[in-house]
């Protein structure tokens, strides 16, 4: 198990470093002086020079890279240019919202996807199956547009949910749920459509397996055959895509947080982009990469626990 986990950990390192290195290269290789651009027109040459030294821009590229690498590994990301406080103090205030949003969205997506896929597969080619398949096709719509539709239907017309805003979990479960449900649903819809299609086709495959026929021939109740034998195997491919879905959602969360005015990482990132606050942008990218890496590692562990064969491959 440990060896397996070590291997998975090594495979996850690119997920953290590839995006960061891209950002590093973009910043250093783009035309113009990053320090000058960061500080804007009013900056004095002394300020620019100071920032250049702080960022190590006066060093050769290789040295810059090593310096940057050291700072990343030690989580020393410098100060935000706008907030004038360390990036590592700002990010935790916003990251929680995004992580909660993604987790709720993932849960909703898996619940909807597995249920719909199951219903669909059990009623193959009946009207309900066709209905689910058709709805799943529509599920490819962009999440930000879906979010606007949800707001129009549930917040503006039916008035079931607030249009925007955020209550932290500390404000009470109901208050929190009221502000997180629509955003999470909007964020989860694309992935739930994907999972529905996957669950349906994998369930149809599994139902054709000889061991299911055996189970049925032995007179086991259908409930046991489906619930105990078929579903567990059929859900494996869905578990596999959860990691990929999480990555997708962390990206989609940017637009969703803007629409619903959630004080999350995505909104922080977009605002930092507007202010050319590079240390904060870099910190945001790093945080998202770390969250993703952690989630993927977690899924690997779950996977190995569910399916022992994985550990010995």
């Amino acid at each position: 198990m440990l060896r397996y986990l070590g291997k998975r950990f090594l495979l996850i390192l690119p997920t953290i470093f590839v995006p960061l290195i891209l950002v590093f290269l973009l910043l250093r290789l783009s035309p113009g002086d990053p320090a000058g651009m960061m500080l804007g027109d009013q900056a004095t040459p002394e300020q620019i020079a100071a920032l250049r030294t702080q960022m190590g821009l006066d060093q050769p590229l290789l040295m810059q890279f090593l310096l940057w690498l050291k700072n990343i590994v030690t989580l020393n990301l410098g100060n935000s240019l706008f907030f004038r406080e360390p990036v590592m103090q700002i990010i935790p205030r916003y990251a929680g919202v995004t992580i909660l949003l993604t987790l709720v969205a993932l849960t909703l997506a898996v619940a909807i996807g597995v249920t719909m896929g199951l219903i669909s597969a059990m009623n193959r080619n009946k009207p309900i199956d066709r209905g689910v398949v058709a709805t799943a096709v529509l599920g490819i719509s962009p999440e930000f547009w879906f979010a606007l539709l949800l707001i129009f239907i549930f917040s503006v017309t039916l008035r079931w949910f607030p249009v925007a805003g955020y209550n932290p979990p500390s404000a009470g479960v109901v208050a929190f749920a009221a502000t997180i449900f629509l955003p999470a649903l909007a964020l989860g819809v694309r992935q739930s459509a994907l999972m529905t299609r996957m669950m349906r086709s994998s369930m149809l495959d599994v139902l054709n397996e000889p061991y299911i026929t055996t189970a049925r021939a032995q007179g086991l109740p259908e409930r046991t055959v489906i619930g105990r034998y078929a579903m567990r195997t059929a859900a494996m491919p869905v578990v596999t895509v959860v990691g990929l879905s999480a990555g997708y959602m962390l990206g989609g969360a940017v637009a969703i947080e803007l629409i619903f005015a959630l004080p999350g990482l995505g909104r922080l990132l977009v605002e930092a982009v507007g202010r050319r606050d590079y240390p904060l942008v870099e910190g945001g990218v790093l945080t998202i990469a770390l969250v993703l890496a952690f989630l993927n590692l977690l899924i690997d562990v779950i996977y190995a626990l569910v399916d022992p064969r994985i550990r010995y491959q």
Partner: protein
């Protein structure tokens, strides 16, 4: 399942008794004709492209022209899609916005697919390069592309070039993996071995033998990349780090619309519908192409 029709066996002119049966494989187009989903998708895409190309003729005038006297007019005979918060004609905005959205999609698809094919071929042939490239692909694929493109916008400034550059980089990864996988399969074929034995140079081996053999998955992938690129541009422009406020695209048209959803839901509806129709058609086309080109992968029904 698509029924693959073959033309009736025919006698070769002046044919002898033996080996006179020839079955011609139907062309891709013939097979598409037999697939209703594909035909509807193609029709929708042609219609959308035409309306974008002909936008200056169909809806003449500057789509960004502000007309405060006619704000928030509902869809009707005068304004098919209504007007927005600045009195701009939404019909015009959707038609003209499509020009940018589809153009970005097209360029990003062309650029990222071209790079993916070249890198995929190299990766499939040279193991040392493959190890490095695949780790890069892993890193790029797991990470949300939109976040990376957002970071790029911070550095390069929001513009059409930035959007095209960053989306192209992000979308190379999945295509590269698919091309590489195909190349790995094809390079083991006997015809490749034979060609090598004849001393065909590697470059020629690739263009003449491998590329044709991997063209089907590339075509399928291209339609999905196109849809991802259109979606990506819309998403980036929507959050304000896309093509910039002076340009018009479906995503940009939605940015402000979200503030007026109570008063004028139609300004959200129409750009969104155009966007969704495009993505839907591209995805369905990709699915049908996959069914047609690779019957083994045809979805179980």
């Amino acid at each position: 399942m698509t029924v693959i029709e073959t033309t009736a066996p025919e006698r070769l002119p002046g044919g002898d008794e033996a080996a006179t049966f020839v079955t011609t494989n139907p062309t891709l187009w013939q097979r598409l004709l037999g697939n209703p989903t594909a035909m509807v998708s193609i029709a929708v895409l042609v219609l959308l492209s035409l309306s974008a190309i002909l936008a200056p003729l169909l809806a003449p005038g500057n789509p960004m022209k502000v007309n405060p006297a006619e704000r928030f007019i509902g869809p009707g005979a005068e304004y098919f899609f209504g007007t927005d918060n600045l009195g701009r004609d939404m019909f015009k905005m959707v038609l003209h916005g499509g020009r940018t959205s589809l153009l970005v999609g097209l360029v990003v698809t062309a650029v990222s697919m071209a790079i993916a094919v070249v890198l995929g071929a190299i990766s499939g042939f040279y193991r040392q390069v493959d190890v490095v490239l695949m780790r890069l692909v892993d890193g790029l694929m797991a990470f949300p592309g939109i976040v990376l493109a957002t970071a790029a916008a911070a550095i390069l400034g929001p513009s059409m070039q930035t959007v095209i550059t960053s989306l192209s980089i992000v979308l190379i990864a999945p295509s590269l993996r698919i091309v590489r996988g195909q190349v790995l399969v094809v390079r083991e074929l006997q015809m490749i071995e034979a060609a090598r034995a004849f001393g065909v140079p590697t470059l020629r081996l690739f263009t003449r033998y491998i590329l044709p053999a991997v063209s089907s998955p590339i075509l399928v992938q291209a339609s999905f990349v196109f849809s991802a690129a259109v979606l990506g541009e819309a998403g980036l422009s929507f959050i304000g780090v896309g093509i910039g406020p002076k340009e018009l695209s479906w995503g940009n048209a939605l940015t402000e619309a979200r503030n007026y959803i109570t008063q004028a839901p139609w300004i959200v509806l129409f750009p969104g519908l155009a966007l969704m129709l495009t993505i839907l058609a591209l995805n369905l086309l990709g699915d049908s192409l996959r069914d047609i080109l690779d019957p083994r992968l045809a979805r179980r029904r």
